[in-house]
Symmetry: D2
Subunit: 238 residues, 4 copies
């Protein structure tokens, strides 16, 4: 890890900047998969920041599945994101995308479950229509961010609970940026990868349509966690 390359700017919290700079080293393979990071003390000294700042940055990287702490041994690189990640998203924005994804897994597991129990014919038509537009754009390898968002929003509306709709709408920017990055990474991958992503969406719709609440909730969680893995693991985005 060439510490000399790292520089602290003033746009973000120190921990946020440190997160981004370590992320950059992982993506660029300067810090290889399985490699040990410098100690807390080493990182604090190298960056001229306090150890609490180092700990906060490492904690977030661990929460996002990028590094892992082994007790009494140190912190190691767990996953290397695809190289294109930091072309499609600024290094500073990745932690935010991960937080939005985490919140979506919670909220949309519930909306999919409830939609399976409560969706009426109009709700189903709206979900399917967004799905069809998404599939058409994916078929020609130019997936539409708006169609993807509208698919998830229509499911929230079908939950019969406007509060869930408000919750998605008030975090729409972060959600759409996450969709945008995930779609761009998917387009870099094989056709088989694209087919899997289409299949994930279709399964959610089918479980809701069949009124199968448990399957709808699990298919939604599975889809969002897979999307997160495609963002953080270069092997999965192939």
């Amino acid at each position: 890890m060439e510490l000399a390359k790292l520089k602290i700017t003033k746009r973000q919290t120190l921990a946020g900047q440190l997160y981004g700079q370590i992320l950059e080293q992982i993506v660029s393979n300067t810090l290889g998969q399985g490699e040990r990071l410098p100690s807390e003390h080493g990182l604090a000294t190298a960056f001229g920041v306090s150890r609490p700042v180092v700990r906060e940055a490492l904690k977030k990287l661990q929460e996002d599945g990028l590094v892992e702490a082994r007790r009494g041994v140190g912190t190691f690189v767990r996953r290397r994101p695809p190289e294109k990640l930091i072309e499609f998203a600024t290094v500073d924005s990745v932690a935010g995308l991960m937080r939005a994804m985490e919140a979506r897994v919670t909220v949309e597991h519930a909306t999919a479950r409830l939609a399976a129990l409560r969706a009426g014919p109009k709700d189903l038509a709206r979900i399917e229509s967004a799905l069809q537009r998404l599939e058409e754009t994916m078929a020609v390898r130019t997936p539409s961010v708006d169609s993807d968002y509208q698919f998830h929003l229509a499911i929230a509306a079908a939950s019969g609970n406007e509060v869930f709709v408000d919750m998605l709408e008030c975090t729409r920017d972060a959600i759409e940026r996450g969709i945008d990055v995930a779609q761009k990474l998917t387009r870099e991958g094989t056709q088989a990868r694209l087919n899997l992503v289409m299949r994930e969406h279709r399964q959610i719709f089918e479980a809701i349509h069949a009124g199968d609440a448990e399957a709808a909730g699990v298919c939604m969680s599975h889809h969002l966690l897979q999307a997160r893995t495609r963002i953080t693991d270069h092997a999965e985005s192939a």
Copy 2:
């Protein structure tokens, strides 16, 4: 059920109005616990609305635990809310309070779990400080809506995920109105009831403080579902 008493106004969806008017009959005991509601056809005729409108109103009453449908038999009153409910909240607003509660159970189960895993000393101090203010105001039987909201907001902040904070903040009005109604009903009850509500809050804090994610999530869900029951069941609010 004296249908003549019911009147349709223009402020809300028809289904929303019908929900409110049936609720009023249940609270006032015009429709007693265990009693069968008129048939879909009967309700549609009496109110001069279509059957889909009747079905939507009944569905929401069922989702909120106020009535239950028995297949091939009809729809029955399941729970009678405390009489004071429609003094503390307008009949029109109750369905909205229930929706906010449902969304909170989902989101705050997650924030409490994550707070148990991620809260630092400052987060814990902020949660405990809001709890203490809430307990002080409850001890003199004037619970503070703001302290209650701040307690839940501090837990969301301790989850380390700003998106959850945004989700609570953007539905703050509905959350605070729900807290207000629940607190007013609690004040009508016995001291034993007040003690139980204090205990629920304290248990959430203790599970987070102990780093016990599963207990923190379950204590939070339990607290919010109990609050919902206190709003919808006169027996529980005693």
Copy 3:
């Protein structure tokens, strides 16, 4: 629906027999997808059983996703299982397989989560070894029931909680019969289908290996619910 074909034997509860006979009509397409079943009264008369028996059989068919009740309209065929189902399993045993699957979703969601948190190197080696044997036998289209069971048992052992191991072992017969049917149906399908099933297993292992509890739990639930769908939906088993 040709009611004359149905006959009551004495081996099972009446509701269990009725379940099996309606299932047979659905699989054989005598009762087509989307078609309405006779009324409760009609079924009771045709089979010479009481209405509670009819209701119990319909309830179980609904729980298993095979029929759906639409309020005030009737009960309809929701999914048609693959024709081979009643070649690979006796009609009488299908309800039991579904119940075992339901219990597995609950228990194994927990074992996969805990394994991600607690598995040591030996646990991981044991899970991977069972996975490799399963993949080798799937590659030549003769998946091994024992390897599949051992994969799931090794995950339970890795949860560090022997009680979960006991729970799987004491229902091993039902679990292995379910695996056997699912595998036989998978072998009837395309190579793409077989690859998907292999992928589901591999994802569970990878999430456990990465220490990602949430993903491990969700991948496990998703895998088991997909297996259930492959048993009950001829379209999904293609």
Copy 4:
């Protein structure tokens, strides 16, 4: 921590024995709440065991909420169980009781949910009858282990899934031993404590009776996690 007091016998795994002996020191207040345990190296040397054995014992103590690891600082006593615990249960058996409790939280959350959706009048009568017997014996401060177990078993039967019943029955010994210890500790506490435990059981029944699946599941999890806390935390058992 007076290490000289500790002795290794041959009845159990080394990690299991070490767990029991550290537990004994915590219960007896030799190791006080908040106090730091000796280092891994220190424990390994003192007991003449390998560090992996020490790590396994500490991991189980942490999973059971008795100690907590603070990264880079050490392991600390988190909760002190009531002194009577090691009178009512052998030191060797406590880890097993905790594992049974963990499995029950998973399985019985599901059985309570499903019972709320599926219980018929006979199921409800059976659950209520066991509850009444339990309440009668608790009222005279001699709670019946069998009634408590039968209450939980009747809920599993009401789930309509025999596999869950089998899972409880095949771990019945461990479950009953856990109930026995929890009840004995409850009897040591105040009448207020006893009333709370009765209330927890009654709430589960009421949620199942009301057909409220979410509340039934959460009330069950909450009850079992509270029971676990009463076993591991002397403050909660007062």
